[in-house]
Amino acid sequence: MTALAQTAIIRSLRTPKGTIAGAWLLALVFMAIFAPVLTSYQYDVQNLKGAFAPPSAEHWLGTDEFGRDLLTRLMYGARTSLSVSGIAIGISVLVGMILGASAGFFGGKFDRAVTVVVDLTWSFPEILVALILVAIIGPGVTGTMAAIGVAYLAQFTRLTRAQIMAIKGETYIEASRSLGASDAYIVFRHLIPNALAPVLVSAMLATGDAIILEATLGFFGLGAQPPTPSWGGMMSSGSALLFKAPWIILLPGLAVAITVIAINLYGDALIRALDIRERLRQA
């Protein structure tokens, strides 16, 4: 698996689109992690005298309505947006793989139960599932993560199940079983590793959608609560100032848009590198 991952990453970076997208994503993660070192400003210290400043040598992207440095807030916002989306999708993939793999492997009543629930949530738009979750858990980072995790759970469960169903009839599985391999051994040693590539790539693409979902919830005022900066939250407070200072809302939106496009381009490069387009369609 690691060898496959290595080849995939190397191959995906060979195309120009893959290189540019990969570089942006890497730079973004770097900025998010090292935000406190990269900027001398604090994201929550107000300076009302310097509010609405245009871009300058001191404030590269200008300041917001409270005189806070926008570039600083964008970098810290990347922290919130990326970690909330990434962690939520990570947990969702893990749970989805366990559910999908057991449903596909064991079949029977359990499979039918999982399929019914998954198909039920599948038919609802993610934003609606997310809003139901936020209504239950309440606004904030936890609510947003739960909302994202549950909203995409159906997708990962379906995809894993489809992969397992496609592989489990193969001769080498039968051979392994005849050699005395246990169910758990077959699932963890053969089925899951074989299903991993399409599921992980779809998880990466879903992270892009999750960033939009996180930003949308933030824009509704239901995401990370102030003063914690998130891209959606910045747009939420900026929307009232659309006419006075449009850049406050345009910049975080641009950050979301470029990041999501980069994730899609890189995901596409990975799909080509791994040659799994057909397998992704199976779900």
């Binding site: 039920l120 038919s123 609802f124 738009p125 993610e126 934003i127 609606l128 809003l131 139901i132 936020v134 209504a135 239950i136 858990i137 309440g138 606004p139 892009g208 939009i212 930003a215 949308t216 824009f219 509704f220 005022g221 239901l222 747009m235 929307s239 659309l242 006419f243 449009p246 809302i249 345009l250 939106g253 979301v256 848009a257 999501v260 496009i261 899609n264």
Partner: protein, 308 residues
């Protein structure tokens, strides 16, 4: 066809029940006790018991659910906490706005999406194809509410062609419909293009060419008809997404509608309104998906055959 429709309608009942249980649960899962809000400061356990009895909160949960469901089915959605108006009135007032926005956006993305997909497929690999596909990628990755804000800045503030917000007249519909529609357009265009290219490679197309039929006529009369089947499938699956998009975009354009109602209620912790709008939205999604499925069965004889 009729029996299929009826069967699908019956299948909606368990789905509706499952969704209603989840939505009913919201009020019991949120942190905090709703009775606390209704009690006056310094009231004792007797007053609490009276209030609990009045709202039926002293009964077991399944009974409470049955009572709630019974009320919902008779159209009694409770009273809003903020403003003290019947929730049913609020929802009925908002619904037509959302339906108008959603259906127009669906129409827009279907028509424009199929058109772009056909043009791209006919010019496969050429400049027109590449331009359309790049535009489609951009359209599907840009967050829709941000796109909406960009549209407001460009067309309402700078050019002053359309009103900034509100729901007065047709002109206020243009930008929201465009914003929601563009996301769907991308999907429809992509599916149409792939389906057209795939269908053009079939044997019957070769035969039509051999017969000497005009290539354009082959593409539009025969290939496109085949290609429309997956397009209808994807549209059937995504009808709900249009309503989801409407929720977001209504807030951006400050239009009245279910989305605006829901988001405002969520921010104000007005749970009866939250429950009602989520329930109506979920039902709209279910009915939309059903409509799409029936349409698909009506269009494709193979789907019909598989069903009976």
């Amino acid at each position: 066809m009729l029996s299929y429709t009826l069967r699908r309608l019956l299948l909606l009942i368990p789905v509706f029940l499952a969704v209603s249980v989840i939505i009913f649960a919201i009020i019991h899962l949120i942190p905090g006790d709703p009775v606390d809000n209704l009690l006056k400061v310094g009231s004792g356990p007797e007053q609490r018991a009276i209030i609990e009895a009045r709202y039926g909160l002293d009964r077991p949960l399944p009974v409470q659910y049955a009572m709630w469901l019974g009320k919902v089915l008779t159209g009694d959605l409770g009273t809003a906490i903020v403003g003290r108006r019947p929730v049913a009135d609020l929802v009925l007032q908002a619904l037509p706005y959302s339906l108008a926005l959603g259906s127009l956006a669906l129409l827009f993305s279907t028509v424009v999406g199929i058109f772009l997909g056909v043009v791209a497929a006919l010019n496969r690999g050429k400049l027109a194809d590449q331009t359309i596909m790049t535009g489609v990628l951009l359209g599907s990755t840009v967050p829709s509410f941000w796109l909406g804000l960009l549209m407001i800045l460009t067309f309402s503030v700078y050019f002053q062609w359309f009103p900034v917000s509100g729901a007065r007249g047709w002109s206020s519909l243009v930008l929201p419909v465009l914003t929601i529609g563009l996301g769907g357009t991308a999907l429809v265009a992509r599916v149409t293009r792939v389906a057209m290219i795939e269908a053009a490679g079939r044997d019957f197309v070769l035969l039509l060419h051999a017969k000497g039929m005009h290539p354009m006529r082959i593409q539009l009369r025969h290939v496109l008809r085949h290609a429309l089947i997956p397009v209808v499938t994807i549209l059937a699956l995504r009808i709900g997404w249009v309503l989801g998009g409407a929720v977001t975009i209504e807030v951006v354009f400050a239009r009245p509608g279910l989305g605006t109602l829901l988001i405002k209620a969520l921010n104000q912790h007005d749970y009866p309104v939250v429950q009602a709008s989520l329930l109506i939205l979920a039902m709209a999604v279910m009915l939309g998906t059903l409509l799409g499925d029936i349409l698909q069965a009506a269009m494709d004889p193979r789907v019909r055959a598989a069903l009976t």
